[in-house]
Structures are given as C-alpha cells and as structure tokens.
C-alpha cells in the first residue's frame, strides 16, 4: 500500500505541478491587473509573458542630463520661482524651465540645472553670479526629479498609444541612475522621438509695445495654465488644431494680456509671421521645445469676446498647428507634461538602445525551445545508457523537467517576463538538477538498492548533504546579481536561485521517493 506519510514529498511535488499548471493555463488569470498587463505582450495558449528579447520591441536606457547643486542657503520667505528665474538669467543657454529649486529644509535648497550641454564650471559660475554658494555640485538630478520624469514619460508613452510600454528607474552597481523605457512592437526611432524631447509647450504673444518698431515676445500660456486638453482635430477647411480650456485662475490674466498686447483688437489680427515677420499684426506663437512651430492671428469673433470680457467665463481656446501630426504631438505633450530634465543619449555617459524586430523575437522563442528540448533529449540518452534502467532514468528526466515547469508556472503566476537571461537560468537549473538527481540515484541504488526504509533514509540524508552544500553555493554565487536592479543578468540569477531552491526543497527529494518506490516497491 502506498502510504501518504512516507510519500509526502511526491505528493508535494504533484501539488506544486498542479498549481503551476493552473498558473500557466488557467484563463481566469489572464485578466490580470493593468500593471502586469503593460509589461509585455501576452502569448497565445499560456499565461506566460515575454520580455522584449522574445517578443520584439525597443528598450532605451539613458541617464538624465543635468547638475545638482546642494546646500544652497536661501531666505525662508524667498519664492523658488523667483530664484529659478534669477539663476536662469545668469546661465547662458538656460531658461527658467531648465532650473529647478527644491527646498530641503527651512533655509536650504538644492538647485538643479537641466539645460543641455552644460559644464560644471558654467553652473558654478551662474550660481555664483546669482549670489549662491553651493556645498557641492554633482552630475545628475535629484530623486524627486527622476520620479517626475518616470511619471511623465509613462504618461507620454500611454498618450501616444504605445500599448504595453513601461518606464522605470534603474541604478547600477556604481550608483549611477538610469531611466529604462521598454516598448513592445515599436521601432527605436519612433520611441526615441517620443521620449527625447522635453515636451515643453508654451504660447507666446509677439507684439510691438506702445507703437515701438521692435517686436517683443511674452509667454502668455504655459503648460500649467491649461485645465483640459481636447483631441487633436482638423477643421473642415483642413486647418488642424488642439482645443484647450484655460484654468479659471489664468483665464482673466490671459484675457487682459490679449487686449493689452493688441492681439484682441477690433476686427481681429492677421498674422504674417512666417512670410513677413518684420511687418505683421501681433501674433500668437506656439513654441514647442523652445522652437516656434506655428504662428497665428485671432479671429474677429474671439477678439470681440476677449474685449468684452466674456471669454474668461468659457475660456475655450484653439491651439493651431501646421499639420495634424504636430497637433497630436502638442496634445500628447500638453497632457503628459513637460520633462524637468532631458534624457541624455549623447556623450560617453549615454545609455543603451536596443531594438528587436517581432519576427526575431518569435524566432528566438521557438529556437531556444528547440535547443532546450534537444539538450534535454541528449541528457536522457546519456542517462539511459548509463543506468540501463528505465525506472531510474525516466523519473530523472521527468523530475528535471518538472523543475522548469514549476519555474514557468512561477513566472506566469507573478507575470515575470521571460527573456534570454531567464532561459539561461532554466539551463543552469536543469544542469544542476540532473547532477543532483544522479547523486541521489547512485546513493539510493548503491549495493542493489536500499533494503529498508531506515537504510533509505540514511542514504538519502547523505546524498542530501552534498546537494544542500552545492545548492547553498549556487545561491550565494548568484545573489549579488539577483539583487542589483540593472544587470541584464538579473533574470538569470533570480531564476537560477529559485530553481535551485525549488529543486532542493520540492523536486529532488521527491525523486528519491519515486526511485525507492519503483526499484523496491516496499513502501
């Protein structure tokens, strides 16, 4: 009779295999939460998710451009916005959006300068000119800024309809921080275009103050002045635009400046900025990433509504663009927000880009499966030849495969995306697994097999000592790589450790029991 008590290890293995089967194939699990869904594309039959290497897509890893000056003294009543403007004035090539002041205590703050192509000296001199003495200046930006960038980039990726795209922060062993962007099924050019710009959108008024012959440009609307952003659309006449609503607090101000600058003059304004910039009515300029992308005048209706002071109640406005894709870009940027710092692709501290075509990904998936199966077949042949006993060899192969099956179930269960490094981990697990099973088999079968339960137990314990020490070694060897969030070897390390643990705790002990049962049948 087969008793539960002496075969609990086999029963445990069966239970785990069933759980794994459920995790892998149960359709109830496919409707998972949004966070898991966005990581990667799902495959057909199973609940497994594949990383970029196996499904195709783009991965970009880059640091953020900027310098952080810490320990800046400032008065407790000083407004950070004013300081940002002061500092920006003193640094060539920086405007107020390139300077971020964050208070760290009552009278101290950090100042980040995120304009492109700066040097430490330029930042140092600029701060000194503005009257600040930082404790130190380092390359990089603050944690808060990085978090903001991650949030905004994620918004951008979502707004652009790149489904499944993820953005996260990673750090290296040496303490450098990178932003990691992964987008399935999209080529690298498209993704880079989307994430490489700051995405600042401002509306400026260009006018001649009080009859002066020179034109002045003033910012009249910024990203935070918009309450809601409509969908980019085209008028019947073919002119694309983005409908926006200005916030209640900014609307009266905008209304007033339109009247003062002469944009809202009776009969409206006709803008000829593009053809004749030195002799034009006042214009509204749409400035994206610091460059004027479109210039437009004002219709008589709108001008009148602004003059009468009625506009501020509705506060609806149309940002006109030259073509529809630009309108979409503006809408995305407005909705996602402007990045406080730019991703740095240039220079020697730049990051990495990789793109894998979907067909390549599928090829990898199928071919590595074939390579794995052939390797397992090779193991089976060797084991059969060595033991010349199906009762020893067959369970050995089945047990080794069950370890990979449990790992696959685990990956499906937690939604860990499989990539090549995880597959390398599976290989390591099968490899050490078969080694351990051979140790168990040789031990249990020594001198014609264990004659009694007591002999079996003591032999099993002896085999287990070797297996346990070897497993502990592997776990120790892999753990540094498993902890660091950056390395491409993280998946390898995690799955090797998991596999070894599953092996030592669940599957390999069960093999001992199966062997005992099959070879002596005296349970």
């Amino acid at each position: 009779m087969i008793s539960i008590r002496s075969n609990w290890r086999v029963i445990l293995l069966v239970v785990f295999v069933l759980i794994s089967t459920f995790a892998l194939f149960s359709p109830t699990l496919t409707d998972r939460s949004a966070t898991a869904e966005v990581i990667t594309e799902q495959s057909g039959v199973t609940n497994l998710q594949y990383g970029l290497q196996l499904s195709g897509g783009t991965r970009i890893r880059a640091p953020l451009d900027g310098y952080t000056a810490s320990g800046i003294e400032l008065g407790s009543d000083a407004r950070t916005g004013d300081i940002e403007r002061e500092v920006a004035e003193q640094i060539q090539g920086a405007d107020p959006t390139d300077v971020i002041v964050r208070r760290t205590a009552q009278t101290t703050a950090t100042v980040e300068v995120t304009a492109a192509n700066m040097t430490v000296d330029e930042v140092q001199d600029g701060l000194a000119a503005a009257g600040f003495e930082p404790d130190g200046i380092r390359e990089g930006v603050t944690e808060t800024t990085r978090e903001e960038v991650v949030r905004i980039l994620q918004n951008k990726v979502n707004e652009a309809g790149l489904s499944g795209g993820t953005v996260q922060q990673v750090s290296t062993a040496t303490g450098d921080n990178f932003i990691l962007i992964e987008v399935p099924n999209e080529d690298s050019t498209a993704v880079r275009e989307l994430v490489s710009d700051r995405g600042t959108v401002v509306v400026e008024a260009r006018y001649q103050p009080d009859g002066s012959p020179n034109y002045t440009r003033d910012i009249v609307l910024q990203q935070e002045d918009f309450q809601s952003i409509g969908t980019a659309q085209e008028r019947d006449s073919g002119r694309p635009f983005v409908p926006v609503t200005v916030t209640e607090t900014s609307a009266p101000q905008f209304q007033q400046s339109m009247v003062e600058t002469g944009l809202a003059r009776p009969g409206g304004t006709r803008c000829t900025y593009e053809t004749n910039p030195n002799n034009t009515d006042p214009c509204l300029l749409l400035v994206v990433n610091g460059e004027v992308t479109n210039a437009f005048g004002m219709s008589p209706n709108l001008a009148n509504s602004l003059r009468r002071g009625e506009w501020a109640q509705e506060s609806v406005f149309q940002l006109q663009t030259t073509n529809i894709s630009e309108a979409q870009q503006v809408a995305i940027n407005l909705r996602a927000g402007a990045l406080p710092a730019r991703l740095d692709f240039s220079g020697d501290d730049g990051g990495t880009t990789s793109f894998i075509s979907p067909s390549q990904g599928v090829d990898f998936r199928v071919n590595s499966l074939i390579a794995g199966i052939i390797a397992v077949l090779a193991v089976s042949v060797v084991v059969f030849v060595r033991y010349r006993d199906v009762r020893v060899a067959a369970p050995m192969i089945v047990t080794a495969l069950s370890e990979v099956f449990l790992l696959l179930g685990f990956a499906a269960g937690i939604g860990y995306p499989l990539d090549l490094s995880v597959i390398a981990g599976f290989i390591a697990v099968i490899g050490t697994g078969v080694d351990d099973l051979i140790i168990i088999a040789d031990e249990v079968l020594a001198e014609g097999g264990a004659s009694s339960q007591r002999v079996f137990k003591s032999r099993f314990r002896r085999a287990f000592w070797v297996i346990g020490v070897a497993a502990a070694t592997t776990v120790i060897a892999m753990s540094p790589l498993a902890i660091l969030s950056l390395g491409d070897l993280q998946g390898f390390a995690i799955f090797t450790i998991l596999g070894v643990l599953i092996g030592v705790i669940i599957t390999r002990p069960a093999y001992g029991d199966i062997l005992q049962l099959l070879t002596t049948g005296n349970h």
Binding site: G350, L420, I423, A424
Partner: protein, 293 residues
C-alpha cells in the same frame, strides 16, 4: 546499445606530484595565455560590446555571403568591426565599436534602412555604461567566488580539502577563460553567466569527492571510485547536454545559448581534470600524510 561505465583508475601507480603536475601545468599555461593577452591587448579577455560599448545590428539578407557582406559594408559610413553570418537563418551580425566616430544606433539604423537592408535587431551600449556593466560582472564573479570559498571552508572546517575545492574552481574558471581567448569567444553577459555556472558545477563534483573520502567510512581508493562513478557521470552528462545545446544554438544564431554552452564545455572538461587529478592528489596527501603530521 553502447555501454557507458566509468573505468576504475589505478591511482596507486602515480605519485601525488605526478597527478598534480598535469593540472598545475595547464593552469600555468592558461594563466600565461590570460596574462599575455592582458599585456598585448590591455584586457585579460576579449570584451564584447556589452562591456566596451558599441552597436550590434542583425540584418536579414539572402544571397551569396560575399555579395551580402560587401553590400553591408557599403551601407554604413563607419567601418564595421566584424560581420558574422548565421547560416541557418540568412542573418548577418554586424558590430561597431563605439569609438569609431561615435556612431549611434539611430544613424546606423537609418543607414541600413536607406540601403534597403532588413534590420532584425539593433542594440547599442555606450562606453561608460559598458564600463559599469563590466564592474558589475567582475564584481559579481568575485563576490560569487569569495562567497563559495567561505561556504566551503565553513562546511569542511579543514584547510587542505577546502583549499583543494577553491583551487579547483579557480583553475576551472581560468582554463575556461584562456580557452575563450584562444577560440575568440567574447566576454558577454552570456559568458559571464557561464563562468558563474562553472563555479556551481565545479563545487558540485569537488564536494562530492571530498564528502565520499572524508565523511564516509571505507578505504580511500574504493571511496574515490564510488565518488568518481557518480561525479564523472554527472559531468559527462552536462558536457554532452551543453555541447548539443551549443551546436544547435549556433545553427539557430542564438548567441547567448551558444556561448554559454561552449564556455561550459571548456569549464566542465577542465573540471574533470582538476577534480580527479588536482583535488584528488591534494586529498590523498592530506589523508595519508597531512593528517598524521
């Protein structure tokens, strides 16, 4: 059907010195290869783009190999560092080092597309990112090795058998690295993974041998034979599995699996030698002479 039994070696015919001479000689040669490599190239190993920075593009193209390679060379302004072909799939792997006029992935991608080539994948790594990956990989390898050594010493609590395991593992890794240099296999994330696996495999067979000889009753040579029967079966199984995987993966152009397979075969062959010549001779010395001292 082929019969596979582990032959019994008559160790009594050889002195400890004779047994240890071969593995020590090979370790010495390997260290010379690695040292010479360092003197000649400034790096002890051939580093792949993951560590030096650079760009790798996989291009799908059919036609005679020479014609395709010329076409690829013409497509790019920068001179490729290498072009390899994957015969089974009509895929060409083109790599660029990062220092060549600082070529970036986007430019290369557009040049390839302009020339009508089908880009299957592209990946680029910046030089400093490569340096940081290198630090991570070497650090990981060093921590793994030290961790393994400490654990082995904690388990056996005697010097000679413990140091035998550590030396064997060290030698296995060095021989594998020397072979990588000789066969032109780059240090990549895959090969670092393989070197880490070698630590695991090496310790497996060494601990098995130590355990049989030190912790079991029985005469030295019969314990050795029992350990060898299990250990050699283990290692041969792994060697065969890894060779098969390396060949299949090479045909399919899955570099990661191919390089893991190849490096593990080197390491496992070295392990067979180190375990049953070097480690065994140290254990025999310890058992017959070291203990009585």
């Amino acid at each position: 059907m082929a019969v596979f039994t582990v032959p019994e070696v008559d160790y009594t015919r050889y002195s400890n010195r004779q047994l240890a001479a071969v593995p020590i000689f090979i370790l010495f040669i390997s260290l010379s290869v690695i040292g010479g490599w360092y003197l000649m190239t400034g790096s002890p190993v051939i580093q792949g783009i993951a560590f030096t920075g650079g760009t790798e593009i996989q291009i799908a193209a059919t036609g005679p190999q020479n014609a395709v390679e010329t076409e690829i060379r013409q497509a790019f302004d920068a001179e490729p560092e290498s072009i390899r072909s994957v015969p089974a799939q009509d895929v060409y792997i083109v790599t660029f080092q990062s220092d060549v006029g600082s070529v970036d992935a986007a430019t290369l991608e557009s040049q390839a597309e302009a020339a009508g080539l089908t880009v299957r994948s592209i990946s680029s790594v910046s030089a400093s990112f490569g340096t940081s990956t290198q630090a991570l990989a070497l650090g990981g390898l060093a921590v793994a090795f030290v961790g393994m050594s400490l654990l082995v010493f904690a388990m056996f609590r005697v010097f000679v058998p413990s140091i035998a395991v550590v030396i064997s593992a060290f030698s296995d890794i060095m021989i594998a690295v020397a072979f990588m240099n000789i066969f032109g296999i780059e240090l990549s994330l895959g090969t670092v993974a393989a070197l880490l696996m070698i630590i695991g495999y090496s310790v497996d067979s060494d601990i098995l041998l130590n355990n049989h000889i030190l912790r079991r009753s029985g005469e030295f040579y019969s314990s050795t034979y029992r350990a060898m029967r299990t250990g050699i079966t283990m290692t041969l199984t792994s060697i065969i599995a890894m060779s098969v995987m390396a060949v299949v993966a090479t045909l399919f152009g899955i570099q990661l699996l191919a390089s893991i397979g190849t490096v593990l075969v080197f390491g496992l062959l070295a392990d067979l030698m180190n375990t049953y010549l070097l480690n065994l001779s140290l254990l025999r010395w310890y058992k017959f002479e070291g203990v009585s001292r």
